[in-house]
């Protein structure tokens, strides 16, 4: 066989094998493909925030009772906590009523009767799994993948920013009384911090 034809055949074979061996995809496409398309995390989060939580709000522990228990009987206090794993980071669904002492762009600072640590109601950074896990109503076994469950966390945090906080921010003033149901993250390996950050779930200005 002519040398030129041989080289041409080899090159064609090489290109054919090469073309079928290498795939170039955008990272964003791969990421999207890993998220199961049937699961609607936003719908799940909406139902949770607007129906499941209000129907189970009596499960929240009073913030005053919790802070007192953390001092007197930490083991009992942590029996009210929830998390998806059995690590040191735990979440509590808490309720209470407080007076707004200060407002800044990140928080509303509340005075809550019977609560020694400062109470910060988060109004800017709604982060982490507190909103999802505080109530203990969401279980990993409900989901096909942990990614689905984690997306619920993200959607819940976005919903709180979009639906719970704007109304509160427009109505809240210094001296206003706020009734709240929210979620608090604590690390049981560490001492109770000087200030407790509450991720709001349900907020009402009671003397507006």
């Amino acid at each position: 066989m002519h040398k030129g034809v041989k080289y041409a055949l080899f090159t064609a074979a090489f290109l054919l094998v090469g073309y079928n061996s290498i795939y170039v995809k955008k990272l964003s496409e791969v990421k999207k493909a890993t998220e199961t398309s049937e699961f609607d995390a936003l719908a799940y989060a909406k139902k949770f925030l607007n129906k499941t939580l209000p129907a189970n709000k009596e499960k929240a522990i009073s913030l005053a009772e919790l802070t007192q228990l953390l001092k007197s009987n930490p083991r009992k206090a942590y029996s009210y906590s929830n998390a998806q794993n059995d690590g040191n980071i735990r979440y509590f669904m808490v309720k209470g009523e407080g007076e707004i002492l200060k407002l800044d762009e990140d928080n509303a600072y509340l005075q809550v009767a019977g609560v020694a640590p400062k109470v910060l109601l988060a109004t800017q950074y709604i982060l982490g799994n507190a909103a999802r896990d505080g109530s203990g109503l969401i279980s990993v076994d409900e989901f096909t993948t942990t990614m689905e469950m984690n997306t619920v966390s993200e959607e819940l945090n976005k919903l709180i920013k979009a639906e719970v906080l704007p109304r509160f921010k427009s109505d809240a003033k210094l001296g206003s009384k706020v009734s709240f149901i929210g979620s608090v993250q604590l690390n049981q390996a560490k001492a109770v911090p000087d200030s407790l950050e509450i991720i709001p779930l349900i907020l009402n200005i009671v003397n507006h």
Binding site: T34, N85, G87, Y125, N129, V140, D141, M147, S153
Partner: protein, 312 residues
Amino acid sequence: MKRLTIAVLILAILSGCSSSNGGKDSKKIAIVVSTLNNPWFVFLAETAAKKAKELGYESKIFDSQNNTALESDHFENAIASGYNAILFNPTDAAGSVSNVMKAKEAGVAVFCMDREVNSKDAATSQILSDSYSACIELGKLFVQSLNKKGKYVELLGIVSDNNTWNRSKGFHSVVDNYPDLKMVAQQSADFDRNKAMEVMESILQAHPDIDGVFCGNDAMAMGAYQALVAAGKAEKVKVMGFDGAEDAINSIKEGKLTATAMQFPKTIAELAATYADEYFKGKTDFPKKLPIPVEVVTSENIDKYIAYGKKE
């Protein structure tokens, strides 16, 4: 003599049958791991094998070399060779489901370790590091370390693995709330140290002024750090990894890496082997998915940790 030989043979066969149906030492456990080219997975596999041995079972480790086709071969071999359970660290959350289903159909229980498969029912149980929650905490630390502003790079692991995205999403669920933190590059380095070094070298050509690097595992963090050292930027750039591997722990002690997230491969591997033992003894009720906590390790709490776990 011929009759005697036949009788002996029949006896031998019968005794063989009774042994394969009876005591626990007749059960075999296959340990199929995504790669043995990463010390973390070597530790996971060896710990599982050690625990299986302690529980009285024969076991064998299979290395999938991050290749789903090879993983499929391992499953077929394990099923054909009569293994009764598979302790499994998948290569691909979606692609590995069919392997687990194959084992299930053959009556072989599969217990996933660290990485999950995209199915609620295929595996008997999935014991998984809670990567997302840990990366929320790493994200908070990253924001604090960079004082809420700066340019950063993210190195992702294998893009078909759920851990890659759980880590990335956990991190971004925090960091993306700070508009002055700008991600200038996001690339996969397949959880591989050498690839991470090459990728980082090339990113540094285009973005020499970065302030932080977030990596989906410690091997990539070490590779990125090496590239930063070579570029004379290691002092300035904060590098974070994930795993709690030996070199990362030493590196945090020496003030090189800023942080990692300690997974507990010993807990995961031992629990998987224990579940297999319980399964052989008749237990059927296992948690479908069991998230294992992961802890953030920095120079402040490094004294509490050793490679792959906490000090006893």
